[in-house]
């Protein structure tokens, strides 16, 4: 049977490594969050960071991203997806958060003026 173009580098080591790394990253994130030792903001950063790390592990070890023969169209499509994702997710959160901008109480005026750099 003719091998698929991606199959040249798959072997047991790859999968086992990927699996063990993923389990470790999962447990690390779990105990960070459940433990409550860190401040909530730090927990957030750590958990998200570990999630992204596990994403990369699974992309490389399970989905074999980057191992295509040229032209690397799958990689290209994937990168586009990341860009669009970043724009839509970040953009939406920025916009939705901002929609109440004009309805903030007067007490916040001084803070806003400073933040926005508005000069009188």
């Amino acid at each position: 049977m003719e091998k698929t173009s991606k199959s040249q580098h798959m072997n047991l080591t790859t999968y086992v490594t990927g699996f063990l790394l993923s389990v470790m990253l999962t447990l690390a994130a779990y105990f960070t969050a459940v433990d409550g030792a860190l401040a909530p903001r730090s927990i957030g950063i750590v958990v998200v960071g570990l999630a992204i790390a596990q994403l990369l592990v699974q992309l490389v070890f399970f989905l074999h991203l980057g191992r295509e023969t040229k032209p690397r169209h799958q990689l290209l499509v994937f990168c586009f997806t990341l860009v669009v994702l970043a724009i839509v997710v970040y953009g939406s959160i920025w916009i939705m958060d901002n929609l109440n901008y004009n309805m903030m109480p007067h007490e916040m005026d001084e803070q806003l003026i400073e933040e926005e750099g508005i000069y009188r």
Binding site: T4, M10, V34, V88
Partner: protein
């Protein structure tokens, strides 16, 4: 078109479909992000989720993703029985995951915290439920693949389809990483 070229073409097509699914999930994620504090006086994520339960679910799905990888290795060795065995284990683990998820949903609904309670719960049920629907589709796919490979053996056609299935199954685990982290872990913190 050569067999290899056909495989490359089909893989790219399926991969592109998976990318559209990424955008779909991203839309549901960002909606969850916007709505997750809108509990309308009801309970929030910190009160509703059981952490050990979710950890078990996560490890089940992760293991099934690994076993699926083993199925592909067996396919390369042309070991038909090993492929079928790995697919069976993948199925069992995936079904267990789904069962646990349905149990969690059922519990929430019984407590009065269904998707009709608040914007937060609507977003939660839809995001996690859509993932569950994809898992269900994957389980059906395993059944079809097992039947095909059982009857026709590991031909170029069935092997190609098996690889596509494995991409799908790994992708679902990737999405779950983010549900686990952003919805459950950050919700509890």
């Amino acid at each position: 078109m050569t067999e290899l070229a056909a495989t490359v073409k089909t893989t790219l097509g399926f991969w592109t479909y998976l990318m559209t699914d990424v955008i779909l999930f991203a839309t549901l994620f960002v909606t969850y992000a916007v709505l997750h504090t809108n509990t309308f006086g009801g309970p929030g994520p910190d009160e509703l989720f059981s952490m050990p339960f979710v950890l078990v679910e996560t490890l089940l799905l992760l293991t099934s993703s690994f076993i699926c990888g083993l199925a592909i290795l067996a396919m390369q060795r042309q070991a038909k029985q090993a492929v079928l065995a790995a697919l069976a284990v993948t199925f069992v683990l995936g079904a267990a995951f789904l069962g646990m998820e349905l149990y969690e949903f059922n519990k929430l609904v019984d407590e009065g915290n269904s998707w009709q309670r608040s914007g937060f719960l609507s977003a939660f049920f839809t995001l996690v439920g859509t993932h569950g629907a994809h898992i269900t589709a994957g389980l059906i796919w395993i059944g079809v693949m097992a039947a095909q490979i059982g009857r026709r053996g590991l031909t170029p056609h069935t092997s190609r389809r098996l690889v596509l299935f494995s991409l799908f199954w790994h992708f679902l685990d990737v999405v779950w990483i983010f549900i686990f982290s952003l919805v459950y872990l950050l919700g509890a913190a």
